[in-house]
Symmetry: C2
Subunit: 230 residues, 2 copies
DNA sequence: TTATCTTTGCGTCAAATTAACGCAATTGAT
DNA sequence: ATCAATTGCGTTAATTTGACGCAAAGATAA
């Protein structure tokens, strides 16, 4: 029998972290899921996650899981919510501190052979293990709220992007359509975008202006109690 | 020596819940704190909290703590964030799932003699135990965000209130001043308030109109994708 | 008592913001 | 060659916002 050497006067739940990883392919919002190789929920897909180490914070744990699946050491990671339903894991009492991450899909290392990770579009997402469907709903709701007031959309886009790509992202996240011209005007008015010097050819009236998110400018504006709102 | 009979193959952190309890006295936002009777932080003030039972969810745990200190079985309670700094408790690894509650001060049972609980105004709040100052900052930030888009202010007011009281509450939470007439117009336009029949005397042009939050009306509006915004 | 504040409800108006849609230049496709 | 689609930039009317006026009536203080 296995040795159980960590003992407490009162029962302690097990604590895990799970990380909902969002990406964007230019059209659709994507989710990085891993296939479970063991029971419970063997064969089901789930968010990357695992037990919390005693010497790391929950965010460190979530980032560790993120790096294991994507190779990314840095990314936008934010705590989502802690899920504590008594029977959410059939084995024992397990609570999970859920996070969500926004990554640039192109920077994610291509799934090596051994990786069981795969990107799914939201509408083709398989049924998920544990209470991960609930976690996903909460994550999507949070993402929608958040993008109204924080420039987090850029975390999902390449460094350089076009206004149309940016609009596609907002539409994908918020599930609405915007008028192209009004979107352009509103986004420009925020003054957090800068045009990238058209390296080779001059803007030939058809190919779109390449933009870049100006983080310094946003930091300045934020200091001055400017409120981003979209 | 005490018996330690709950044993695991891997170490488990201890899990607590803490509940930031907000009230409103008509002028200032208030906090319900309890004085710690034992070390660590003996004599310091802290949010009501305690260890999570194995057969309850975190929210049930938070509500249990809330009822112990206020006698309230029902109140607005929402999960805030989970705090996991490795050394936040000097005794052992403890993570806490923090909640915040909004209560009507008048409904809170007067602190019986045994109670070590006391209401504090925000600006007179004592130094707090553990990482509770951090938790408080996060709770205040959340409250500010939340009240912009959800009708949670009414949870802090009596059933019947005046427009001036409502404005005082918004000003206390958001830390800004509003023009009385514009506040009135904007709030009225939301159509989530109903006038309470002036029971005895007709509105004698000086005493204010008593209002009540119309939850049914708000639910209807919400269904129709109406967006509350203040 | 009387003159002076304060509080409350409701109104006005100009400035700012938003939503809807026009237009021309250019390019890729049929 | 014609046509549809894309991109950048304007225009206009409706809506919303911010700042402030005003009168009635109770409270306050000389």
């Amino acid at each position: 029998m296995e040795e159980k050497k960590y003992c407490y006067k009162y029962p302690h739940p097990a604590v895990t972290t799970d990380c909902v990883i969002f990406g964007f392919d230019g059209i659709n919002l994507k989710l990085l899921l891993v296939e479970r190789g063991i029971d419970p929920y063997k064969g089901c897909w789930a968010f990357p996650g695992g037990f919390l180490n005693m010497d790391e914070t929950a965010e460190e744990g979530a980032r560790r899981e993120l790096e294991e699946e994507t190779g990314l050491k840095t990314a936008y990671v934010e705590q989502l919510q802690t899920f504590t339903a008594v029977d959410r894991d059939p084995r024992e009492r397990v609570i999970t501190i859920a996070f969500y991450a926004l990554v640039k899909i192109s920077e994610v290392k291509g799934g090596d052979d051994a990786s069981q990770a795969r990107w799914f579009s939201l509408d083709e997402s398989p049924s998920l293990a544990f209470d991960h469907e609930l976690i996903l709903r909460v994550a999507l709701a949070r993402l929608k709220e958040k993008i109204h007031f924080e420039p987090i959309g850029f975390e999902l886009l390449p460094e350089v992007f076009t206004m149309t790509e940016l609009q596609n992202l907002y539409e994908a996240i918020l599930g609405v359509k915007f008028d192209r011209r009004n979107f352009y005007r509103k986004m420009t008015a925020l003054e957090i975008l800068e045009q990238v010097e058209p390296e080779k050819q001059r803007t030939s009236k058809r190919d779109p202006i390449p933009y870049r998110f100006n983080a310094e400018r946003y930091a300045e504006l934020k200091k001055k109690h400017f409120i981003l709102e979209f």
